[in-house]
């Protein structure tokens, strides 16, 4: 009974305007790579899903979205139940088939290469990865450049996938194919579309 409550509760209180708020934050982040955009807590999902990742899910997922979740999320009946009930998404076990990926543990995630990069004729049929992290005060700083960035942009997420710089260079080299990343922190999000280049890294 208690897990049922976890599943049915915690969705958007205003599905129309909350989704619009979260989408504008996402669009702002995607159009300005590395920019940190604040979003208040609008959803209350079961752990390990975070409020912001769940808000993004409720904004973008529905029966037309195939989603891959990492083991911590897919292994939790409360999490998959929440996602199914509030979004109606299609879950998949194969990262290469996913329109979206929900990742709670960035350190152990599969390589970016294992997700779908789209085809050269339809590069939009690629995976958008949603990475749950703590925030944007990490020790390492990436200096970003590319479309959406006026000169350059410093970006320090608290967690990054392993060998991230090498993986991102490979992702960038496949342009226009490639994956896009959304970093969901606590009340703050940022995005790295496939066009962004890492100019240098500073420790």
């Amino acid at each position: 009974m208690r897990s049922d409550t976890q599943i049915f509760e915690g969705g958007f209180s205003d599905s129309v305007l909350n989704a619009q708020t979260v989408f504008r934050a996402l669009m702002d982040a995607m159009a300005n790579p590395g920019r940190i955009v604040e979003v208040s807590d609008l959803a209350a999902p079961p752990a390990p899903l975070t409020s912001l990742a769940a808000s993004i899910a409720a904004t973008l997922f529905d029966h037309d979205a195939t989603v891959w979740c990492d083991r911590a999320i897919s292994g939790s009946a409360a999490c998959t139940g929440w996602l199914k009930f509030h979004t109606g998404l299609e879950l998949t076990g194969e990262p290469a088939d996913a329109d979206f990926a929900l990742i709670s543990d960035v350190a152990t995630m599969p390589s970016l290469e294992s997700f779908c990069r789209g085809t050269s004729e339809y590069p939009d049929r690629s995976t958008t990865l949603i990475l749950q992290i703590d925030g944007f005060d990490g020790a390492d700083t990436l200096v970003l450049e590319g479309p959406g960035i006026k000169d350059s942009m410093a970006f320090s997420p608290s967690h990054l996938p392993r060998m991230f710089v090498d993986q991102w260079v490979a992702n960038r080299a496949a342009f226009p194919r490639g994956v896009d990343l959304i970093f969901a922190g606590k009340g703050v999000l940022a995005a790295l579309p496939r066009t962004t280049r890492i100019k240098k890294t500073e420790a």
Binding site: Q20, M30, Y122, D124, S126, D180
Partner: protein, 293 residues
């Protein structure tokens, strides 16, 4: 507004908005690439801006201020009806002032005033595929974009030069975005092309009948195609605006009588009115003309 509850906010249902929003995020991530989307029937005919309206509806929120222009003017049929549409279905604030707007939906012009960071320009696009009149098959144009095979477009511009001595394309002038995709900037005059380059505003393009969404993020390279010996040039006008005296704005010809009389006035009505309010006068402005009589 009491009849607001009969529609969902901003007219579209939530599933449609999610579908369009997913397409917009992909479009921003791949600048200049046309993302297919499941365009809906709108309460207006194709060709009246259904693509732009769907993009605006998916983006719009209660905190936004909307401006709608048609060929630069706020007071023409298309602009007035789309503005009234969003007032009715979203109860959103509207304005004619470029600087006050957060979202500007446009048909065939980019405002003269420099757009600011945070503003969103939504274009209504009739034919999103710049190669369509050169190659009618979608399967082929898609392959051409995939292979970055744009020779045909250069041949078209070259044929212009061979026939007319200069590139005769004056609107929907093809651009290359971020050195990769050739894109149709919608039928804006080529006068506006340089404004797209490194614009601080986000530019979104919606083609309703052709079911495509594409985008140019802020601070993105947008280069008009040309040749070294025939560089890209914008239109120039021999006289200033007859109402506000502006030089260097895009002018429309307005017929005055049946004896061949005409005057040239700014196509951007807000820009022209703003200048007149600041005291600028052209040769045919009401008070200048009275003083001359």
């Amino acid at each position: 507004m009491t009849d607001l509850a009969t529609y969902n906010f901003a007219y579209l249902d939530e599933q449609t908005k999610r579908m369009i929003r997913r397409a917009i995020l992909k479009a921003i991530a791949i600048p200049g690439y046309q993302v297919p989307f499941a365009s809906r029937e709108m309460p207006m005919p194709y060709g009246w801006g259904t693509g732009g309206v769907q993009v605006t509806a998916a983006v719009l929120g209660p905190d936004d201020t909307l401006k709608v222009i048609d060929q630069g003017a706020d007071d023409t049929t298309n602009a007035v009806s789309i503005r009234a549409f969003f007032q009715k279905v979203a109860n959103v604030r509207v304005t004619t002032k470029t600087a006050d707007a957060t979202i500007i939906q446009t048909r065939h012009r980019i405002p003269e005033a420099q757009l600011q960071a945070g503003q969103i320009l939504v274009y209504q696009v009739p034919i999103p595929e710049p190669l369509r009149f050169l190659e009618p098959r979608e399967t082929e144009t898609r392959k051409m974009h995939a292979l970055e095979e744009y020779g045909l477009m250069h041949v078209k511009l070259y044929e212009d030069i061979a026939r007319h001595g200069h590139i005769a394309t004056t609107y929907a002038y093809p651009v290359k975005v971020e050195g990769r995709y050739v894109m149709d900037p919608s039928p804006t005059p080529k006068f506006d092309n340089p404004k797209m380059h490194m614009s601080p505003a986000l530019q979104l393009f919606g083609a309703g009948r052709e079911k495509r969404i594409y985008a140019v993020p802020p601070y993105t390279e947008v280069v008009s195609l040309d040749f070294e010996d025939h560089p890209f040039e914008i239109q120039t006008f021999s006289q200033p605006c007859a109402l506000c005296g502006a030089k260097g704005s895009y002018l429309d010809e307005v017929i005055l009588d049946d004896k061949g009389g005409s005057m040239f006035v700014c196509s951007d009505t807000d820009f022209c009115e703003d200048r007149q309010a600041k005291g600028h006068r052209g040769a045919l402005a009401a008070d200048t003309a009275e003083a001359a009589e």
